[in-house]
Symmetry: C2
Subunit: 156 residues, 2 copies
Amino acid sequence: MSRSGADLALLLLGGYRTLVEAAQVELAERGYDDFRPVHDFAMRAIAAGADSASELGRRTSVSKQAAAKTIAVLVERGYVAREPDPGDARRKRLQVTPLGFDVLRQGETIFDELRASWARRIGSAELAALESRLRELVGDDAVRADAPGWVAQAEG
Amino acid sequence: MSRSGADLALLLLGGYRTLVEAAQVELAERGYDDFRPVHDFAMRAIAAGADSASELGRRTSVSKQAAAKTIAVLVERGYVAREPDPGDARRKRLQVTPLGFDVLRQGETIFDELRASWARRIGSAELAALESRLRELVGDDAVRADAPGWVAQAEG
DNA sequence: AACCATAGACAACCAGGTTGTCCATGTCCA
DNA sequence: TGGACATGGACAACCTGGTTGTCTATGGTT
């Protein structure tokens, strides 16, 4: 029985952390090493149309320089391709590669499996209730929005 | 209605982040600038008896060097005092100062107020249920343990 | 043609971590 | 008592994921 607000915060962090750590381990076992939430965020934004470093920065609430650094690692790992934009010589067009989509899909699956295992433990209804209370409290957009800045940090 | 495991993770992160950001802002308004969870953790460990950098490192699952860096900022801000240990010339004894206890107490109060405001929004019973489900899922020790490494990162 | 906005590269810096090395001190044991 | 080992802390170099500032090349507008 926690009466303490600080404990509540730690429980929430603990939940996030538990899921992410498990996902990271599982992803590593499937051959995608050192894949972090920040990479996932960036790739999703790119897949969703952020096709340049500046645009990625804007969409993820991060400086274009920070975005460029993340892109550099994604390119190096083969998850994202960067090629000159034929229509604008300033830009380098970004594209998620097939390998990149693989890791996105697997990450998604893993998180869904983790959620399912939680549902088995406390019951589907309870989990759904937990989610909807939380959604009420933090708002729907906490889920999209500028998680990255934070996500970057809530890792290990 | 989220079916997605990824959304669940983001909701949890969003919750943590919402609380911490609000607390940070409020603490800053009360004159404690740039006080981060990592500082809170370290000070609590010191107050609980981690009276040297090495010991603090052990208790917070961090290298002694990292602990020393954190201590340096706490000392610089006057939250922690560091003085030679009379009984062992290798050690520097750490102590939370009265100012340090102030900020701890206020942080605690702020988090409790935030929790209360959440309780007003979704109902005490609902919030308590949310906490106990979460506790079931992540375990009690997620609340204590080695949050620091993570906390360090789940900031802004 | 002149001017301004934009994309991206590069460099310096910050926080909070890591590892490795080193020295001074303390402890233990033959 | 002396030598071996363990411990505390300082220092330096490095990592990641951010920041700001500056610079160049290109594009768009008037």
